[in-house]
Amino acid sequence: MERHSHETGTQPRHAWRLITIVVLSQTLLAAGLLFTGIFYTHQRLLSTLDAGMQGRAMSVAALVRYTEDASGNVYFDETLMPSSVDPAHPDLFAVWTERSGILAHSANWPAGLELPPTGPDHWKFKFNHVHYRGLRVSRVPVLDREEGKTFRPQSLTIVYASPMIQLDDQVRQAGISIALSSLLLLGATVLLALWGIRRGLLPLQELAAEAALVSTHHWELHLPNDAQQIKELRPLTQSMTTMLARLQHSFDQQREFLGNAAHELKTPVAVLKSTLQSLLQKPRASEEYREGLEHSLEDLERLEQLLQWMLRLARAEQWAHGALRRDLQVIDITATCEEAVERIRHLAKSRNATVHLSKNGPVPFRADPEDLQLVWINLLENAVRYSPEGGSVEVAVVRENSGPARIIFEDHGAGILAADLPHVFERFYRGDPSRTRATGGFGLGLAIAKALVEAYGGTITADSTPGKGTRMTVELPVG
């Protein structure tokens, strides 16, 4: 329960992070858009205003007329002046002539208005708490020309100023509308992203729910239709399926091994327990106690041996599963074979069997010599045990110029039945249980040999002709 809530707790957090990123970047974008929008609008409106002011200044210039005499004096015909656009904040203007200074100005012309000495034709100033934009046009000729009059023409300087209230309003409105639409878009994006993520995660959630149903008792993963149809999920579902298959296989193997191991351990324990219990059933002669204790000790030793074999197998299989990460020296395969043959001599002698090793020179290989010897001894023990009394076992180390080294063990015993042959390397497998007790094996030697050989990247195979003998071939990737 706790795990479940933890899982559902982390998933939305990832989704939220994504949404936050989207929202942040969109906010940034919107801010940029707002800024550019305001700037652009402002510029456009300003140039429109400027153009209008230019026109008005020109129309002011057009109202400057020459007097009817030939003095060349001018006057300003105020009656023709158009009314201001914004009556609450009327435009300002003033006209100067070259000769006589200020000619005329609007009624609201502030006396102390400071004009920028030179420099920009446009400037900004504050009048009556209102921002105005001023325009100064210099050297404007008097437009009033009468035919036939000749006198020195005059040039004018006109200052015209308009309030910027309208412009500011318009810019503000443009900004607000851009900001509002951005906000709307942002909201829509968040909703869409949320929906999309939830929608996109739905197949994953279904898949997770199905995966949660998988257990050691129920290995089957039912893939929901959505998860199967979404192409992006295919690598996930595929690897989940293969992973489960691998897990199930190794789990089944382990379970089988555990079952077999338990079975193999229970019998000697049962023998031991029954010996001691029957010994305690009634008072007995010391001879009987002695015999009982000796039997118990024998059984205990067998149990100990079995445990050792099982541990060896566990170790070998651990290496086989990729844990073989040791610093290994280059050793000679032939030498390990010689050593193993030497160590098996005692058993061979007790069965009157002979072991012959044919070799041609050293075969270098990177391995732990103990591991290889264990493999050879297991194979040799098997060969000697299943040989008839006085039989012979041949061992050959073969190294061709290229390719793997082959180590062959051949006996001339009863052989293995074709039905048993595929199973001889399985743990605890014994073709005929009756032979086991006589030969004293646990059915683990070949499994250990296989695990070790495979840990070194090699292979082991068994060929047998019933009645003629068995040949075990180990191939190791040398060179």
Binding site: A270, K273, Q281, D432, S434
Partner: protein, 228 residues
């Protein structure tokens, strides 16, 4: 009572046999493989069979099937190392009467064996009564009318067998077969000796006879007249 042990682990078989002989006074035969076990089970009379499942020659399960197919009613107690549900169900369904998993307690094995023998002969109680005779199979004690009776081991075994089959005619051969192991024929003359000993100890000082002889047929343990 006579028990067949089919077990390939010689020491385990020997320990069980010793325990059954010493604690229960049973006759015991041992078979070390399935084939021998099947032969003994089919050719001799046993009161219970103790069967191991992992056997050379013939698998215990197979053997069980063969015994049951031939119509043998002998109770079978399976001794197995497998305790998973599937195999327990499978072996009970194959005709086993009870099972015990290794490693087991010899006391439990003994108790289960006794219970199976009892049930095989239709006796639910471990204390068998015939008239005023009371035979306790648990501590192997005998009383008649509340008076304890001391019997020799062999006398007890004869009476125990008869008490498991009250009011039935039990032939001398049947007694021999169920009280001795495979070489029972050597003992053919001793049964009369035990019967007369039992008669003396049980019926002395009592007006009602318990052990009756049917000439040429055998013996009956019952309260009262000799006619069944």
């Amino acid at each position: 009572m006579r028990v067949l042990i089919i077990e390939d682990e010689p020491r385990l078989a020997e320990n069980i046999a010793r325990s059954l002989r010493e604690s229960a006074g049973y006759a015991v035969d041992i078979a070390h493989d399935g084939q021998e076990g099947l032969f003994l089970a089919e050719s001799s009379e046993y009161d219970v069979v103790l069967l191991d499942l992992m056997l050379p020659q013939m698998d215990g399960m197979q053997l069980l099937g063969r015994i049951r197919k031939s119509g043998q009613r002998t109770p079978v107690l399976v001794v197995t190392a497998r305790d998973d549900k599937e195999s327990v169900v499978a072996l009970l369904n194959a005709g086993a009467d009870d099972y015990l998993t290794k490693p087991f307690d010899l006391g439990e094995l003994l108790a289960r064996t006794k219970a199976l023998i009892r049930r095989g002969k239709g006796q639910p109680s471990p204390v068998l009564t015939v008239g005023d005779l009371e035979l306790n199979t648990v501590n192997r004690s005998v009383r008649r009318g509340g008076r304890p009776i001391t019997l020799t081991a062999m006398e007890y075994r004869v009476l125990e067998y008869l008490a498991h089959r009250p009011r039935a005619v039990v032939s001398k051969t049947e007694l021999l077969e169920h009280l001795y192991d495979y070489n029972w024929e050597k003992f053919s003359n001793v049964i009369e000796v035990y019967i007369s000993g039992l008669r003396r100890k049980l019926d002395d000082g009592s007006s009602r006879q318990l052990i009756h002889t049917l000439r040429g047929q055998g013996y009956i343990l019952q309260d009262g007249t000799s006619q069944p």
